[in-house]
Subunit: 322 residues, 2 copies
């Protein structure tokens, strides 16, 4: 029921994603036209303005909460939603709970760069983070890059304001030291200009910075492509040139299109959850479902659990984090 | 002596900027060809890798330190440098000192948006900031927008991860409350996607986030324009189209070009300092010099001093900030 384009777009995406190895199950209002897919009838819808902290208690039978719960109950293997991100995070925390040892879940955004696929995290699950959270995000990102993106021995960089270890704010200075001492293939800091260029297989940052960066990129792509159109259509010769480069522009747009992957992972939960953009097309939804399926096939949750199993000595210290 | 392209490029920019109302004075090695401009002979050069905190003591007679000191001594009205930004900040703090009442100087970047000029600050002077610093950055940004960019009654927005006041990290939540209670025309939070689009006349953020955003934008512009070229030149028809849209591409590049303003202000010092990009062309240098001159004509330093004069009741509290 989530997504700005209404349930039919979601159903169309699910329909397109089905295969002999993948069976989409819909959760939503019984009136939705399910095109032959299984539809679990639910009551109520989580709206974009609903407060994340109240959704699970206030709307326990809504499509989103029921779908997340179904992962916990094992009737489905993963959940995909184009609805309220904060509510998905809250539902995931309450219905699925965190993998033991995970301090904070993170939103992992797969990106297609000129140097291949990479992942940026956290893209907004935690507005404030501590250095040890960033270290854990890096570990989760490395597992994601290996298992979902198929990158062997992924490199990790920390987003900061200079490549030198001593450049950054208090958070990144301390996180840099933790990452350098870890077993990850840490290659130091990277800068904002490297994100889209593919500086590393895993780019780690706090949720505030990650979210600002993503939205800055979104805005830049739109402003630049619109600027191009304005300038090109300003003259007759430009218009003719514009016709001739249209296929090239379409290819570029496809490369920069967030629909290519369709979704972001909520990493660190005891179940697989993928968040699609609110404005997802059916193509994006289908890609998000396939992305979730890839995570199931590669047992991302199990792999994360074994990598992040709490050190028995530290578990007493880790518990109050909840 | 700063700037990646060497002194001749700087001299050419200064030569181009001279007018009946503007007399460039060069500070640098006596061997530099000054093209008839006044050249103050200095000894030593601040390098890009020099530690900012040590430059003033280690290289007191370098071109940068001497030029900054000349502003303090009143022999020149403003200083422009394409050298090490951190060193300029350190030299400014030690040689010019802060305007009374100013807790931290900030780097203010003028941007040309589709809706007109705007300013983003802090772009990197302070990697860590407190809410009261952001309030002061906003005030300095408003004075800058009025006096240098010619914007009447400038609007101010706080860069965050959602437009709602309750979206953000601890820093922005508290800064939002301070800004809302201030006398500024505060229009709430904006997001990363709004920066290039011109969401507000003044966009305020901490130096870490501001620097990451700027570099992300730089990288996005480069990656997208390069991607366009690759796609266009992939086919013969595309190449022909590319020739026809070349003037349009040049106009767009001009609009997005950081050389348009050429420089960023170091706001909050008792003297006017402008930082140009390390890779500045002579056009960028000339524009940076003109930008500095505009600040002198409009007495930006005096206007800031009167707006930020410490409240006598609070001066006891403000002093330990030093």
């Amino acid at each position: 029921m989530g997504g700005d384009r209404g349930p039919d777009e979601i159903v169309a995406g699910a329909f397109a994603a089905r295969s002999h190895a993948l069976t989409p199950v819909l959760f939503g209002d019984p009136s939705v036209e399910a095109r032959g897919l299984e539809l679990v009838a639910t009551e109520g819808v989580v709206e974009m303005h609903d407060k994340p902290g109240e959704v699970v208690r206030a709307k326990p039978d809504s499509s989103m909460v029921r779908a997340v719960r179904a992962v916990h109950e094992g009737t489905v293997d993963a959940v995909v939603s184009a609805g309220n991100t904060g509510a998905m995070l809250a539902a995931g925390l309450l219905e699925l709970r965190r993998i033991p040892g995970v301090m904070r879940p993170a939103i992992a955004i797969p990106m297609l760069t000129p140097r291949g696929p990479s992942v940026l995290l956290d893209a907004g699950a935690n507005a404030d983070a501590r250095p040890e959270h960033l270290l854990q995000f890096a570990t989760m990102g490395a597992v994601f890059a290996e298992e979902v993106l198929g990158v062997r021995d992924p490199s990790v960089r920390l987003l900061s304001i200079g490549e030198e270890p001593e450049k950054g704010n208090q958070l990144t200075l301390e996180a840099h030291a933790l990452l350098a001492a870890s077993e990850l293939r840490f290659e130091g800091n990277c800068e904002g200009r490297d994100v889209l260029g593919g500086a590393a297989d895993v780019v780690v940052t706090d949720g505030f910075t990650g979210n600002v960066v993503l939205k800055t990129l979104e805005g830049a792509v739109r402003t630049i492509l619109e600027g191009f159109r304005t300038e090109i259509t300003a003259t007759t010769v430009g218009k003719l040139g514009g016709l001739l480069i249209r296929p090239a522009a379409r290819r570029l747009r496809g490369r920069l299109d967030p629909d290519t992957y369709g979704g972001a992972y909520l990493l660190g939960l005891r179940g697989l959850a993928v968040i699609a953009h609110g404005n997802s097309s059916q193509t994006a939804i289908a890609n998000a479902i396939r992305l979730a399926a890839r995570g199931v096939e590669h047992d991302v949750v199990g792999r994360l659990a074994s990598r992040l199993a709490p050190d028995p000595d530290e578990s007493a210290r880790a518990t109050p984090e909840a």
